[in-house]
Symmetry: D2
Subunit: 394 residues, 4 copies
């Protein structure tokens, strides 16, 4: 299938660090792997400093670099704005881009506060009326194994759901000398493990089960209260790394809640689980079966079919690399696994399909707001001796 | 090493169902495998009905059968009373036996209420003054892998503990037609998943870490509110199995708490985790390492040594079958695993060693009371919209 | 079910080391766990030295000890002789015991040579005419997971078998200073890894598939050619442990062969697989499914059902602890695993059932001879530059 | 690091099917992820038919398409020829391209016969004199976990190697109705499972251990002797799929051999291992440690450190996603795994580094010839009743 003659859409990206690199790989690859109806053109990357932005643009495959993202609002050759910055800038960029008629893909969490998220939803709704699309980037939904899990639950394979057990375990700040980076400051990151990785397992729980959390009880902790300030990257006066600053976000968040289908869900998000590198795990137990997943083994989904005779039943490891599995047809033969970056390629594929077909991509900004409300309820409960906090579903 | 000339101790057992069979296997085996200083003599088994008690005594290897356990109080040939009945009878039997100068091994949970447990502790303290010993049977402590975990943590291999993640997952009552057995009635069992299996993971958390829970927040649920009454085993009036009765205990209990060393612990006990048969799991994350265990793989302990270079670090599966491992020297060569029943043989070995050496066995009735207080706090919190409940440590 | 009034059979055991301890545990337990029609009475244990034999008898639960096994031939109170000695004495003891009308359970391998095995088969056939039974102790067949594997293959769940992949990996003599024990001397052990552990995977391959090996090609190796002589346990002349002696058996044996159903089988038996403690593994691939097993995880059987839709197929871990699984009904609830020693309890249960019902137990001495012929063919091929050696099936 | 001003090298690719797609992804990505000294320019793709070649070129990112690969010999803008065709055309293309001064990357196996491979080696040697480089594409060497395994063995972590256990298990032709594609015909593929996947595990064994095979004994089998002819892709007379043709290659190959360091190695390559999708496995046992790998879990390496105390030793799962691991620094944070395609990106990165630095890339054509000789020895032995065949090392 030739790309010749296919429609193109211009793309701008704001931010170029971890998420920027991952998104760029996806923008470069999506039309090479999938038969998408439009071909993205990587027009411009925006960063704070010119040298760094230009180096990143060259390396990552963007035609130009810029330092003022507002410039994009007036560019006719840009149709899509991809926001890969820290959470405190999401609202401003997304609202302006949508107002300018750009489709927006915004990294998660949608915002740092419920109020910002509500304003973004309002902007997305107004844009939708004009055929402009907005999506929040919970990329893990596009892990083939998790997309399969959702499909199996939607098809009724698990029956009535009693339990969800979700964990996101990392260990990258166990060392108390690890510096006070932006992800450890409330003003830039909003929250700590909770918003960064807890948001993912909240989204996955709701995505995989098709249900919503109706309330939570929570406990949070900051194990290391002060950390060295990060060294100045450049400049005369040196690093300053002997000074310390207060950690203003949580290191770990534990919470449990109820699903609107009657089940219970437990959550744990932490950056202090020594030895767990990216253990985003979810297990769902239903009346007729169970599913279990761990991102450290991202090509596997474990399924227990409770309708089999007891003597032959068991958790089976489905290697999610078959042509029949979600997204896999575009890739390699069975047993030839995918990696982390593929989740972004799949996300952008789905985004492009939605944009081109004039439908709303998922997760929507409304979905992102829903998660923001769960995050806020968790923080409220944690500040109120774990007292139960109801979550409004509207 | 011959048994000839060794001192013997007479043993009586009350109850002969699941726990009775497991304990009998241990009483028959302990001196065959271990070099214990005393040899148990299985004198008498007590049950409610003569025929059943006699059949059980013959099958399980007890010299006699009886129907009135009070008879044991006056028997000089019985030194030890082993209580394997449901929780509502523990206090009466244990207190009487201790008063009569019998050493007591009592199945867990110690009692159905904090008040009963306090009375049992008082009886055990009085007995201790007279050299009479009391122990509560949290057998899982004697799983070699868990004894090893305790030793490794005590030796400082994990550093400062940030997280405990404990689960006890079963699925034997997922079917709503499963009958209303005694374990599902508050008057006999005290609580449901909470006291039956939740008690084990509370004990293990405290045993393995050497720390105590200082407070909890909890959520419980009874998914199936009514179940068929069990058929009458004998008698005129038939089975009645089409009638239903109310389930008066929890099907699942979720809670989290704080440890007195500053860490967080999360717990989940459920009988609704389809496909999980006896998944008693515990993971401990410390500043320099982690340990993970699942009873479905009882001969394995997973250890992450955070002091290794990052390029070579990883969770290692320690096959806990080496002569250097706790209890293993008595058994088979490396790689020849043990089973569930061995936990009881180890428990009774430790009990006999304590009795003979005149020291207090662990877990003591005080330990059992401590767990009872955690169970009560969990229930209090669950009844108060998950509000935090502090646990008195004395 | 009471044991009262049940018929009893007297048992004598020859040898009391590793196998003797394991068999004793089984003789003590079999009627306590299973509803066997006869109750074994542990009459007498024979060893080479009086003190050791008496200590062992006391410890292991035998009523008497003796030093001359020939004495058993005239004892009317002994019905069964259980042979747990090294392989070089099997033939003499078994033939004499069968001639004296004793049922015989003989440890594997049946003998050290094909000729001895043939003589034992002749004795067993003659005894069979008189209602006297003989069985060779390939205990691993009685692992519930492997009995289940056999049942599933016999039921056609795997279709036509293409591959068997069998390994028995240990590491207990990797250290070149490990002494020259009897298992490392040809005159006592017959062969090394080949006969000791290779025999088990040959038996399992044939047992599980129901097929026979028709020929093999082989390679053997002795990595450590000389080892320290073992210290004299007692006596004047001291230990001699600085002297070395030649290792006269293989450390490792690799071979592959053809099955009479058209499939291929590969085998590896070694004591030099560092880190593998008792990894007796077998995988069977058929046209419609596969099974995999590893004794280090003895309570699990992995099954791939190739008839499922590709999107849901996967190797499933069957936890072989359900009441419907072979042998499990006698034991504990689901998820409460068994250990190594249970394989012997199951073996003796099946032996008693056969003896009492007047049928032939399996594996028979003929089966043991068949395995001896495979072992001999392996050695022949290994000595002939791996040239293929056919195996007579009669 | 900007790409601006970097030297570029023009690349041509011959073939565009499975390997062509994987290589294209790598050519597009290598300079985006790695800081390579030269930037590849994807000039032209050659295929047999114009339409298909043009569609593939557009999809995969090549600037042009052509149908006659010989055209490349005269193109000054092409510096590298990447050969992704079936094995029967490798020799002709590679020899011509090298003669024309093009660096060559040739897919494995190097050729279909030893003689072709020898001619290719001669061409590579002549080209090397002129600074022209040749590499054979055993991509799996560039799996980070396997590169780590090689490094650990080279550093002496395993001591003296006793065993290699290598398997490559797939199941894609278990169905006898699977058609007679080119990989099942000797004239195009040279051999079956042996050359296609067996070649990989031979290379890995030698790569990881740094040792060479000195001889082998082998057994091969074709389970399904006839298969339906593939439908004609185009043409008047229809598909012909009801006709059958003879399968002229092996379905499975088993062999074992000796390494020049004194160890033993066993191999199994099959396409009939139901449920195993791409289980390329290797385990190495040395005197002080062991390593194990399975490509179905490509981000993990299992390491047993035999120098640890027995009570704490165990196979550890190293998640090979740390910045210190081979190739990983270019990618994502710990725990964010890579996929199959990354092996090619790493391969091409190493190829570009070698080309630019004027050193010889590995594996060389000489390495490819060495593997060809092992493949030939396997076939010889299999045709001679498994008789041992020595392998010349020169």
């Amino acid at each position: 299938m030739s790309l010749a003659g296919k429609k193109t859409l211009g793309v701008a990206m704001v931010g170029y660090a971890f998420m920027g690199a991952a998104h760029s790989q996806a923008w470069r690859t999506v039309h090479r792997a999938f038969d998408v109806p439009v071909v993205p053109e990587m027009k411009v990357l925006y960063g704070r400093t010119r040298d760094a932005a230009e180096a990143a643009a060259g390396k990552l495959g963007w035609a130009q670099a810029g330092t003022d993202w507002r410039e994009v609002l007036g560019r006719d050759d840009v149709d899509i704005v991809d926001i890969c910055t820290p959470g405190d800038t999401h609202a401003e960029i997304a609202i302006a881009a949508l107002a300018a008629g750009k489709h927006v893909l915004c990294e998660k969490p949608l915002a740092n506060t419920v109020q910002e998220a509500e304003e973004m939803v309002a902007a997305a709704r107004a844009a939708r009326e004009r055929g402009v699309r907005a999506m929040v980037g919970f990329n893990y939904r596009r892990t083939p194994a998790l997309a399969l899990a959702r499909d199996m639950i939607a098809a009724g394979r698990l029956g009535r759901i009693a339990h969800v057990r979700a964990q996101y375990l990392q260990d990258w700040i166990v060392d108390p000398e690890f510096p006070l980076v932006w992800r450890l400051r409330k003003e830039s990151a909003g929250s700590g493990a909770l918003g960064d990785i807890g948001a993912h397992i909240i989204d996955l729980t709701q995505f995989v089960t098709g249900q919503r959390l109706t309330g939570v009880s929570a406990l949070t902790e900051t194990f290391v209260k002060e950390r060295p300030l990060p060294s100045a990257a450049t400049g005369l006066s040196g690093t300053g790394s002997t000074e310390k600053g207060a950690v203003t976000v949580d290191d770990a968040a534990l919470f449990f809640g109820r699903l609107d289908g009657g089940g219970l869900a437990s959550f744990e998000a932490t950056r202090f689980a020594t030895g767990r590198k990216n253990a985003m795990r979810i297990e769902v137990n239903g009346s007729t079966g169970s599913l279990a997943f761990d991102f450290e083994f991202m090509n596997e989904l474990h399924f227990y079919d409770g309708t089999e005779p007891a003597a032959e039943a068991g958790f089976r490891r489905i290697l999610v690399t078959e042509p029949d599995h979600p997204y896999i047809g575009a890739w390699w033969p069975p047993g030839h696994g995918l990696g982390y970056e593929h989740t972004f390629t799949h996300e952008i594929r789905d985004f492009l399909l939605a944009v081109e077909s004039g439908t709303d991509p998922a997760p929507s900004f409304e979905d992102g707001l829903g998660i923001q409300r769960v995050l806020a309820a968790v923080q409220d409960s944690a500040e109120s001796r774990s007292l139960w906090v109801d979550i409004p579903l509207t």
